[in-house]
Amino acid sequence: MTLDALAPGARATVTGFATDAPPARLLEMGLLPGTAVEVVRLAPLGDPMDLRVRGFHLSLRRAEAAHVVVEPA
């Protein structure tokens, strides 16, 4: 499944990307295959998502999160 499908509170591990060219900034922020990620909450209108990655909070639009393939923990 992809990251955008996770509900708030869910944890998962990134397994790959559903695109050949994942956004560079996402990779530099440390969202890589093997990285543990937790959906902390969604913005009041349901988008973007507030994620916890490597100990910090990362905000990501669901459209971007849809490119991230995850394995729920």
């Binding site: 060219a21 994942p22 890589l32 009041p44 100990g55 990501l60 459209a63 971007e64």
Partner: protein, 715 residues
């Protein structure tokens, strides 16, 4: 070894880099919590260098997450560190500031900087916050792994600054980089590319440059047109052919080295899933219900401050400028020079300074939002809604600032990382109802709307005022939507944004920054407004036509001071009519007549091109309402209502007033906005488009209002 002359501070946004810079130099610069807020080159002199040592320049580089630049300010950091800035040698020492509470992501940039092969230090900042959060970093072990000195600091508390200064003055040898490994399928290509680089690239940096060009389009672009660029493109094709995820090679490799190191040197004494204070604050601030509610309250507070609290200070400034004018009139002999000083120069200064209280207050609140970390949350809360109309969550703050003045709004758009988002935001910001429109709104609403209230509650005048603001904002959204749909097609670079931990603001820096920004407003916008005010004064004063005998006689034979004033005002009115501005007005009248405007309104519109509120004083002069009339003067209101065309029709009907108000909602009657937009976008192209589309909107809408109104029989 030659003594250290220059130091560059590099680091991720929100790691306290600027606070550290202030502690090292004593200079007061920007501290912010919103990603990417430091844009310009900030430098200072290292404090406490021993006597006899050469001056050491410390440069505060823009915050950056990576050396593959994604925005203009990250590009500056990259250029400075790699010696690509024109006229600037690479720094003798690089200090990478890393956040001890968030070491893993921070080490990504650290390992990149180490690969540049310059003498490098790591300042492990926020050590106090890390301690409070139950995080301990084994500093000697980290230094050993990185191969460079690591100095723990707490810039906020001033801890570790002396040790860092010592380390800067006695820098280590050039860094050798850490031994991270590239994925085996990509390694041979990088080796070949490193050899293909031009010979002037230093050996220590060849591998770094080769990886950068292979994985980042921005870095490949540096070599455009060279044989090396061709080699990179070929290598990319070959790797893509073999289905090798080479774009991830650098990040995978570096994090592959970083993660085990962090596991070894960082110890957490609290369970990792325990909620921090910041998390608990966020549970409220970004809550589905409380979040937007709180945001609304914050906005209300800012509006209240800008529109009410600033008023006494604005009145005081106007009074002082007026008193100064009276003083000059008393001291100087009558004549052209006196008029130039009072009506040109002093009025110009007054036009600038009167906005200062609002701008200071606005910058205070914006600074507070940045420093606490709330700014990033407003973008988070609003992104979805803003994206519907083609903007981004980060456009909220520029759009709000523009209710005070488009200039801070345009400047605030710097925080938008995506260039297209930034241009769209700047293009629509001037449609927001700024405070310079207020006097125009007040004058015509008070003149043509009754003071009564709808259902006895909401005043008609207040309702009309709100309506004009709403009209501007709605049109800003429409314009953004059109620009996104037809000009800047497609999604922006996305919304990968850090939500930094909440931090207490530091009042000293908050205050200093507010003053610094206000200085930018006064110097950048002020000089232009000032010059234009003088230019307009010339246009309104020349050519000086002698008044007809009847008027001249009236001045001389006035029996009472009141009669003398009235007679002089009539002379002034006559002379403005004959001036260049008056002639422009007459020349424009045929074009403006379909909107319901006579030559006086047309002349006022020409005069208000410098700044909107000028139309009030221009009309005051044209209507001989006396030089000191303002938007609340009953005399000006009455003169406007009493004015008749030669055939007896009133010049100003409620419909004409409505048409004029709509014109002022949309028209870009503000040179300062154009000047700032030119500076921020570095080209006249978009400012010209901005002026043209807003003028077209203004003309079209006024035409619709006036002609439509006449068809309905309201004329």
């Amino acid at each position: 070894m030659t003594p250290v002359r220059s130091v560059a501070l590099a680091g991720n946004p929100n790691v306290g880099k600027t606070t550290l810079f202030n502690a090292l130099t004593g200079a007061n610069q920007k501290v912010a919590n919103y990603p990417g807020v430091t844009v310009e080159r900030k430098s200072g002199r290292l404090r406490g260098a021993p006597a006899g040592h050469d001056a050491v320049e410390v440069v505060d580089l823009p915050g950056t997450y990576s050396l593959a630049p994604a925005s203009a300010d990250e590009r500056v950091a990259f250029d400075a560190l790699t010696g690509r800035l024109a006229g600037e040698a690479p720094p003798d020492v690089v200090v990478v500031v890393a956040d001890a509470t968030n070491l893993e992501r921070n080490l990504y940039l650290v390992t990149q900087v180490l690969d540049l092969g310059r003498p490098t230090l790591v300042a492990l900042n926020m050590s106090d916050a890390a301690h409070d959060a139950g995080i301990t970093v084994d500093v000697p072990a980290l230094a050993e792994r990185l191969g460079v000195p690591v100095v723990p600091t707490s810039a906020r508390r001033g801890e570790g600054i002396d040790a860092l200064r010592e380390a800067i003055l006695h820098p280590p040898p050039p860094a050798r980089g850490v031994a991270w490994t590239l994925m085996p399928t990509v390694e041979p290509a990088v080796g070949a590319l490193a050899d293909a680089l031009p010979p002037d690239v230093p050996l220590a940096r060849r591998r770094f440059e080769a990886i950068g060009a292979l994985t980042s389009d921005a870095l490949l672009d540096l070599h455009r047109g060279t044989p090396f660029a061709g080699a990179v493109t070929d290598a990319r094709h070959a790797l893509a052919e073999a289905r090798t995820p080479y774009t991830m090679a650098e990040t995978m490799g570096r994090y592959g080295w970083i993660s085990p190191v962090v596991a070894d040197v960082v110890a957490r004494h609290t369970p990792a899933d325990q909620r921090s204070v910041s998390d608990r604050v966020d549970a409220v601030v970004t809550h589905r219900v409380w979040g937007p509610l709180l945001f609304g309250l914050v906005l209300l507070l800012i509006f209240q401050a800008v529109f009410s609290w600033a008023v006494p200070a604005m009145d005081a400034i106007e009074w002082i400028v007026g008193a100064a004018g009276a003083g000059v009139r008393a001291a100087m002999p009558d004549g052209v020079l006196e008029d130039l000083v009072v009506e040109g120069a002093l009025t110009g200064v007054g036009n600038v300074l009167v906005f200062l209280p609002q701008i200071l207050l606005l910058f205070f609140f914006l600074g507070l939002m940045e420093d606490t970390g709330y700014m990033a949350r407003t973008a988070f809360i609003m992104d979805r809604a803003m994206r519907r109309v083609g903007l981004s969550g980060a456009s909220v703050v520029p759009m709000l600032s523009a209710y005070a003045c488009a200039i801070p709004g345009i400047m605030a758009a710097r925080t938008l990382a995506d260039e297209r988002d930034r241009i769209i935001t700047i293009m629509v910001v001037p449609l927001q109802g700024c405070s310079a429109r207020l006097p125009v709104y007040v004058l015509f609403i008070a003149a043509f709307l009754p003071a009564g209230a709808l259902f006895g509650v909401v005043g008609y005048q207040a309702l009309a005022m709100t309506g004009l603001y709403v009209l501007g904002t709605v049109m800003a959204f429409v314009a953004a939507w059109v620009l996104r749909r037809f000009v800047f097609k497609g999604e922006g670079s996305g919304f990968v944004m850090e939500l930094p931990p909440y931090r207490l603001p530091q009042p000293r820096y908050l205050f200093r920054r507010m003053v610094d920004r206000a200085k930018v407003f006064v110097t950048r916008a002020g000089t232009i407004i000032f010059a234009l005010s003088i230019g307009l004064w010339v246009l309104a004063s020349y050519p000086k036509t002698p008044p007809p005998p009847a008027l001249a006689v009236a001045v001389e034979q006035a029996a009472t001071p009141a009669e003398a004033d009235a007679a002089r005002a009539a002379v002034a009115s006559f002379q403005v009519r004959e001036s260049y501005i008056g002639r422009f007005g007459h020349a424009l009248e045929p074009v403006m007549r379909p909107l319901g405007f006579d030559w006086k309104i047309s002349a006022g519109i020409v005069a208000s091109f410098a700044a909107r509120e000028v139309i009030v004083s221009a009309l005051a002069t044209l209507y001989s309402a006396g030089a000191d009339a303002d938007e609340t003067s009953v005399s000006l209101r009455d003169a406007i209502k009493a004015d008749r065309y030669p055939d007896g029709r009133p010049v100003f009907t409620p419909l004409v007033a409505a048409s004029l108000l709509v014109f002022f909602v949309f028209a870009l009657q503000c040179m300062s906005t154009l000047a700032i937009a030119r500076r921020e976008l570095n080209s006249w192209r978009w400012p010209v488009v901005m002026w043209a589309y807003m003028m077209a909107l203004a003309y079209g809408s006024s035409l619709l209002v006036y002609q439509g109104g006449r068809l309905l029989g309201w004329g």
